[in-house]
Symmetry: C2
Subunit: 471 residues, 2 copies
């Protein structure tokens, strides 16, 4: 690929300048929710894009962090690629960092391996791809912004084959509360053939990966009510409804041994053959400290929904335990949903499931009269966050991205049909028929933790990848 | 019954003196665990017994509260009855009481009904049986001590038909930690045909009751271990063992819908026909704020063991809930055991049951190597407290007590084959072939709470009952 070769030559000749520009960005504090730093990041990025001849703007919904968006026009008739990254970061407690989080520091290797501070290289000096850039937001996710700028630089004004629309978010670490609203607002300007989210790390083996799906998420809390006050278990333990027992029984019946929901009437979409085949090829996680389960691989499992019990509370345990039938019991669940499942409908199915088990459903703790009328009383409260997304790994719009990744990385990527975790990828379904996640950062980047860092080789990979896509 | 008539005439003639003596006892603080007051109670009671010509002594195991014990010799060839009561009481926060807890106060009715303070009556003045004596320990359980003294007074030195051995405890409210040791120490002196425990209230209808059994008790805590640290539920929710799920499943399978344990290999003794017949005749509890269950009555259920879930803990619920597979889950159980069940054997059966469900049992939180080898790891820790007791309601030794209760109360008692709750009645099985509980106090005595009170009619009932037994 010509564009890729050009980008490589370019970054080899001006590597120190690319690092210097990145360091300038990283020196601007970017803790999510702190308007001063976030605003300065947005303006710096917009200005750098415009300096490269790109139409870029900052916009801001009241109460939201500013957003940078824009467009690079390619040759007529070429594809349009959407590019997402975020420039906000997690909080950074300077005391826990080896180097100050907003004083970008170059080291000749990992801190864990004794990596030592290196002077930022001057023009013409060599850049070692094993070096690491330490700063908050270097890997998660301002490295993707730097890669975009580097790839645009490498074109040196030449019109690319593909057009690029982009959206750079400033509140991802707060849960992207306005992303849907921003996407709705800009839908007309940001339509593309495929959207590519550059966030997260590559595979721990160092191999590149392209992720074709994520699961959605909904939270549900089920409270089962027993006696109005804790009752003496000796006198009434065989007589009163025990909410801890009723709740245990209820939640046990709501998932199979693999965690897949078995809620009445809740259909579980079957993953496609292509997705299952791809899943079987993804390496399973290594040693997590417990034996792997028998049966399907982690990645096959992640193509199915999950009903997770994240918390249980009833009465007391340990020294505080008292001999009572507890007055109530609470289970907190998070549901990971696959594409095709509507979070609201899932919560409604759970409500019906509970009601079908003989529970009288209430919207608030029951009054004395309600308690007197019903032995089984439950409150189900749900928060439907967002649905899952699954792009078929053989989607035609993804072929160009897979080719660019392979060219940039020098090896074919691991095709991850779906992460088990949740990312609001669904917003991008309004902007393109397909959306994928293409991580750039090294897996050992200390994301969200002190000493976050990006390996220079991964920045180079990002530049090469975007250059290949544009070319 | 001649003895009963004599007792009634006696207490009618010297009622004010009986109340004055009782008030003297009640003015001595008796909070369990406070040696000064407890010692003074013991000595006062021993002195009063000796003043009535009874062989009585105070004894004290190091570290224990003092115990008053002794013997009233009856006519040769007569039966021997054991009499138990306790003179210690629950703590009393004077600020929460209407009258000071250790300034005995006479009122002409219940405080709830506007009962007003009445002067203690002088010699020859009438005593209204509706009056109430307010003081800590008036009902629970120094009223029984006063009844014993009153009944002995009423004999005025005449040798009774029956012999009486007695044991008056000073640390019942602390869980009777030395009762077994005291009983062992005094077993040779306190043998009887039947032991009678005077504690607790009569039936809420006001009818007398005789209780032929209690359940034993054992506590068990089950901890199930999951990942060494909370794991991201999105990434690993279908992959990691979820201890909240495993634990819910485990405890759900350990009891039937009535709370009866369904633990592997744990035999459930069948209650006798006589006990079941008696149980069916006991009135069920009234409105407890929830609908009564279908099936057996409360009292039939109390003849079977119970596995109660008194507490559950895993992860977090509510706003604190995080999207994780929690690292561990804990269930706290109390088991109510029926006669014939060995608490240690029950705990061992639970351990075997858990192991048979595929759990690797550990004695302390598992190390990394153990976690790596086993997906299911549980810790079962048990505290076997004591076994249950069940005296057949038609036990010949109880016939005399039933007759005395009926004579004293003027109506046949409710025969309660077993309380569901736990009392260390089993100690008395070393002293007699049968042991029963014969409550004296009014049911609305505010036991363990502020404004504890004994109705004068119930003190009279206690005196009459003991007099009838002696006669």
């Amino acid at each position: 690929m010509q564009a890729l070769d050009e980008a490589r030559r370019y970054r080899e000749s001006v590597g120190p300048a690319i690092l210097a520009s990145f360091a300038e960005l990283l020196s601007i504090p970017n803790v999510a929710g702190t308007p001063g730093g976030i605003d300065r990041n947005a303006i710096w990025i917009r200005d750098e894009l415009m300096r490269r001849g790109v139409r870029a703007a900052v916009t801001q919904i009241p109460g939201a962090a500013p957003l940078v968006f824009g467009r690079v026009d390619g040759a007529p008739g070429g594809p349009t690629i959407g590019f997402y990254a975020h420039f906000d970061g997690q909080p950074a407690d300077g005391l826990a960092w080896t180097d100050p989080p907003f004083t970008p520091t170059l080291r000749d290797g990992r801190l864990e391996d004794g990596g030592r501070v290196v002077d930022w290289p001057g023009p013409g000096q060599p850049v070692d791809p094993e070096w690491r850039i330490y700063a908050r937001g270097s890997a998660d996710d301002r490295g993707a912004v730097a890669a975009l700028l580097g790839a645009l630089d490498a074109r040196q004004g030449r019109v690319p084959q593909a057009s690029l629309v982009f959206l750079l978010e400033g509140e991802e670490e707060q849960g992207s509360p306005h992303l849907g609203e921003y996407v709705g607002l800009l839908a007309g300007r940001l339509a593309a053939d495929i959207w590519m989210l550059c966030d997260g790390p590559v595979h721990q083996s160092g191999r590149p990966q392209v992720v074709f799906g994520v699961r959605g998420i909904a939270d549900v809390e089920i409270t089962v009510f027993g006696p109005a006050a804790d009752l003496h278990s000796g006198h009434y333990g065989n007589w009163a409804p025990n909410p801890a027992v009723l709740l245990s029984d209820l939640v046990t019946g709501m998932r199979d041994q693999h965690g897949v929901p078995t809620v009445d009437g809740l259909e579980i979409p079957e993953p496609s053959e292509a997705a299952m085949t791809a899943a079987a090829l993804v390496p399973d996680p290594g040693d997590l400290g417990f034996p792997a389960p028998e049966g399907p691989s982690l990645w096959e499992r992640n193509l199915r929904p999950l009903l997770n019990i994240r918390g249980l509370r009833a009465g007391d345990v340990g020294e505080a335990a008292r001999n009572v039938v507890p007055g109530s019991a609470v289970a907190s669940l998070d549901l990971r949903l696959v594409a095709g499942q509507d979070p609201v409908a899932v919560i409604e199915a759970i409500e019906r499931h509970v009601a079908a088990r003989g529970f009288h459903l209430v919207g608030e703790p029951p009054d004395a009269e309600t308690r007197r009328r019903h032995r089984r009383i439950a409150m189900v409260s749900g928060r439907p966050s967002y649905p899952g997304v699954l792009t078929p790994p053989d989607h035609p719009a993804a072929a160009g991205i897979l080719a660019a990744v392979e060219a940039a990385a020098g090896e074919p990527p691991i095709i991850v049909p779906s992460f088990g975790s949740s990312v609001p990828l669904h917003h991008f379904e309004r902007l393109a028929p397909a959306a994928v996640i293409v991580p750039i950062a090294n897996h050992d980047n200390h994301q969200h933790a002190p000493d976050e860092n990006l390996k220079v080789a991964n920045l180079w990979y990002g530049i090469d990848l975007i250059a290949a896509l544009l070319g």
